[in-house]
């Protein structure tokens, strides 16, 4: 045998084969700069009748739904949308190089700090002119979400979905449970569920982000929206007594969470709710995707996370919002503006939601008559909110949340003791990261 993988030459290669191999290697070398320039291939975008669009909607359902929206736009304006779809996660990982290279005119992105970050880096165009036309279609909370740190608009939101506590109506009926409105009621309910042989709160944190949702809920119920923003933006300290209180509160609830959460994905955790082994589950409405049986889905309901501090009640809703932004130097600026004006109308959102009913419209004017009961409730919850948060990794620097908060929260979930040293460590790491740029 020859150890070709350890660098010893392969015997007997002909000159031609070697040259062919070289050609391959040269191609490989050439492919690397291409990777960072993905999406630059839309040479047709200097054409005023075309707008190029970088899309992260790689899953079948949203991809089809957006295609319907763009078709309607073409019909109305005569401008075609040249879509350049990339895998959802790859799109996020490459967004940095993508926006610095030759990005498409318009691209999909998320609201919140995540949008503000790229706006502040000068990688997106302000779109106040678009908002002058579409402003009336959106509630104030959505407007707030679409602005950069400089007060200019950078995003047109299209869809959103709330985080809430999900449960099965039949399980609550069977045991005579009532929806808890306060923290104490929640704890009492957990105790009862445990006695009844249920897992009170389904939980899976293998992917490390679901725990952030629990932190967010307790934090803004206890300390309010403004503190959430301050903390996520790196201005408030993690060693603040307010943060310590969040973890204390969480530690009280942790024994009622499903055991072994660090080895379980959210999908597996959702299955315990589907099979009625768990009583409640705190997640986004996408949990409904796991309810494949129609009867089970009709049985699914949710309530807003209970009140902890009466000063804030339930005024904040965590509602991650997706939308569109314009790149820094769009080739077809007028076309991009027209497209965003169209995307900001309730009609565009309705076309989208017709094909993808797992989300709700960002606009308050969208027609909700075709919504399912779950969608209607979600829509009301969002429209009635005083403030909307995005999610820890959308409201804060992604490098901070992924390299510091994800492991830290996993550590807490596994072993809730030693909160103080954990918080000191988070604060120290946060300072270096937020100081770096």
């Amino acid at each position: 045998m020859h150890l070709s993988s350890h660098g010893q030459p392969l015997p007997g290669s002909s000159r031609r084969a070697v040259l062919r191999g070289l050609g391959g290697a040269a191609l490989l070398g050439a492919a690397i700069p291409l990777l960072s320039a993905c999406g630059g291939g839309s040479g047709s975008s200097s054409d005023p009748k075309t707008v190029s669009l970088g899309s992260n909607a790689s899953d079948a359902v949203p991809k089809k739904a957006f295609a319907d929206v763009y078709a309607a736009f073409k019909k109305q304006s005569g401008i075609a949308v040249d879509v350049n779809t990339k895998d959802h996660n790859t799109f996020q990982e490459q967004i940095n190089t993508y926006l610095q290279g030759t990005p498409d005119d318009v691209f999909n992105w998320f609201a919140g700090y995540r949008m503000q970050f790229f706006a502040a880096k000068g990688l997106a165009s302000p779109i106040d002119d678009v908002w002058a036309k579409i402003g009336g279609n959106f509630p104030d909370a959505m407007k707030k979400l679409s602005k950069g740190a400089d007060g200019k608009y950078y995003l047109v939101p299209i869809t959103t979905y709330p985080w809430a506590v999900f449960y099965r109506k039949s399980v609550f009926q069977q045991h005579g449970y009532e929806v808890p409105a306060t923290w104490d009621q929640l704890v009492v309910l957990c105790k009862r569920m445990k006695k009844d042989g249920l897992v009170p709160i389904a939980f899976g944190d293998k992917d490390a982000w679901p725990a952030m949702g629990t932190f967010d809920q307790i934090n803004f119920r206890l300390n309010g929206y403004d503190f959430h923003v301050e903390l996520m933006a790196g201005r408030a300290s993690w060693t603040d007594a307010k943060v310590r209180d969040v973890f204390d509160q969480w530690a009280e609830l942790l024994p009622y969470h499903q055991e072994g959460s660090l080895g379980r994905t959210w999908q597996d955790a959702a299955q315990t709710l589907v099979s009625k082994k768990a009583g409640m589950y705190l997640l986004g409405t996408f949990v409904a995707q796991q309810f494949t049986d129609k009867a089970d889905l009709d049985d699914l309901d949710f309530f807003a996370f209970p009140e902890i501090n009466s000063e804030f009640g339930q005024d904040t809703v965590e509602a991650p919002t997706d939308g569109f932004m314009v790149s820094k130097n769009p080739k077809n600026h007028d076309g991009a503006v027209k497209l965003l004006e169209f995307l900001g109308t309730p009609e565009a959102e309705q076309i989208y939601l017709k094909a993808d009913p797992s989300l709700v419209a960002a606009s308050s004017k969208a027609d909700t008559s075709s919504y399912t009961a779950l969608q209607k409730k979600a829509f009301e919850m969002i429209s009635g909110a005083k403030s909307l948060t995005q999610f820890m990794d959308r409201d804060s620097r992604p490098d901070f949340t992924s390299t510091v908060m994800q492991p830290a929260l996993q550590k807490f979930v596994r072993d809730p003791k030693g909160i103080d040293s954990l918080l000191t460590s988070i604060e120290r790491q946060k300072k270096t990261i937020f100081a770096s740029s």
Binding site: L19, N96, Q100, A208, G260, L262, P398, P407, S436
Partner: protein, 325 residues
């Protein structure tokens, strides 16, 4: 004088007379054996790989060493800021995942050298006896090496899944109260994943030793059996000492495997609690929407230094031996 130089150079590349193609055009005028096209080809053959090697290996390696002393979010070159040793200070004193990662890389190496390596040697010795169905066994043990590690990780994840996985379903450890969290429990998950790593490494070691054993001169065995040595004595005193070159290859391969351990863990639980590895810390810091390229490079430099500290003494001793031989 220059002509002489080219001549000698060409002389070195002259193919042996027997191999010369009779159809080859003999250039007129100059006594050149290589046509312009040949020289161009050779130039490309030497030049292109050199350029690729330098840009893809050396430039990137040196760039990441330089970046280790900066902070950079990857957006525009003007945002690179020189911070000196701050990244390393932060890494050694402030990062709760760094020391566990170093420790896990070491454990990874120790386990690989203690369990699958002797096991691979044992299997190789058995297969070397040309027992029946030898090829079937050989294929079976080598199969895990052929399968991509990402796939291996995925399969083992199904085995270890605490709710629906094979192990917990069989032993009934997926109920509240007595629950074994193979993937999430930091006291278990490293060992769980090392089983998967060993499962694969054994086949790799077996094939290396099998190759080494094929090179053992049969007359040595014959001589030792004539001297009345039993099988164990023959192995211990005759066969094993001749495997010395293979052993060094095995050692180096195992060190490399331990340092580059990544894919299996990344698929298994992304290097969360209990399975942190240096390679995963590098990836987590560098890949993403707003990356910490300077900090990630600093971790990569630590990994590089460890690799060099291991590989350089090995290379020195090998070359010294070759020269003295």
């Amino acid at each position: 004088m220059t002509i002489d130089v080219t001549k000698t150079r060409e002389a070195a590349t002259v193919p042996p007379p027997g191999n010369a193609s009779p159809k080859k055009r003999v250039p007129q005028g100059h006594r050149r054996l290589l046509t312009r096209r040949d020289r161009l080809t050779l130039g490309l053959m030497a030049g292109v790989p050199t350029i690729l090697h330098v840009t893809l290996v050396w430039v990137t390696a040196l760039a990441s060493i330089a970046l280790a002393f900066t902070t950079w979010d990857g957006i525009g070159f003007d945002s690179i800021k020189w911070v000196g040793l701050d990244n390393f200070k932060e890494l050694f004193t402030n990062n709760p995942q760094f020391w566990p990662a170093v420790q896990h890389n070491v454990i990874w190496f120790v386990v690989l050298i203690l369990i699958p390596t002797p096991l691979g040697l044992f299997l190789a010795v058995q297969l070397d006896k040309n027992i029946r169905f030898s090829r079937v066994y050989q294929t079976a043990y080598f199969l895990p090496v052929v399968v991509s590690l990402a796939v291996t990780g995925f399969v083992w994840q199904l085995v270890y899944n605490p709710d629906t996985g094979l192990i917990n379903s069989i032993i009934g450890a997926n109920k509240p109260g007595h629950y074994i969290d193979w993937i999430g429990d930091p006291h278990l998950n490293l060992w769980a994943i090392l089983v998967a790593a060993c499962w694969r490494h054994t086949g790799y070691m077996m094939i290396l030793y099998l190759a080494g054993l094929k090179g053992v001169d049969p007359s040595l065995r014959e001589a030792s059996s004539l001297d009345g040595a039993n099988e164990w004595q023959t192995f211990k005193n005759v066969v094993f000492p001749t495997l010395r070159p293979t052993n060094t290859v095995v050692l180096v391969v195992t060190i490399i495997e331990a340092l580059r351990a990544f894919d299996l863990v990344f698929v298994f639980n992304k290097g969360a609690q209990g399975t942190e590895l240096l390679s995963i810390l590098v990836t987590n810091n560098i890949i993403g929407e707003s990356s910490r390229i300077g900090y990630g490079s600093a971790i990569a430099v630590v990994l590089l230094v460890i690799s060099l500290a291991v590989i350089i003494p090995y290379l020195i001793s090998t070359f010294r031996k070759e020269r003295s031989a």
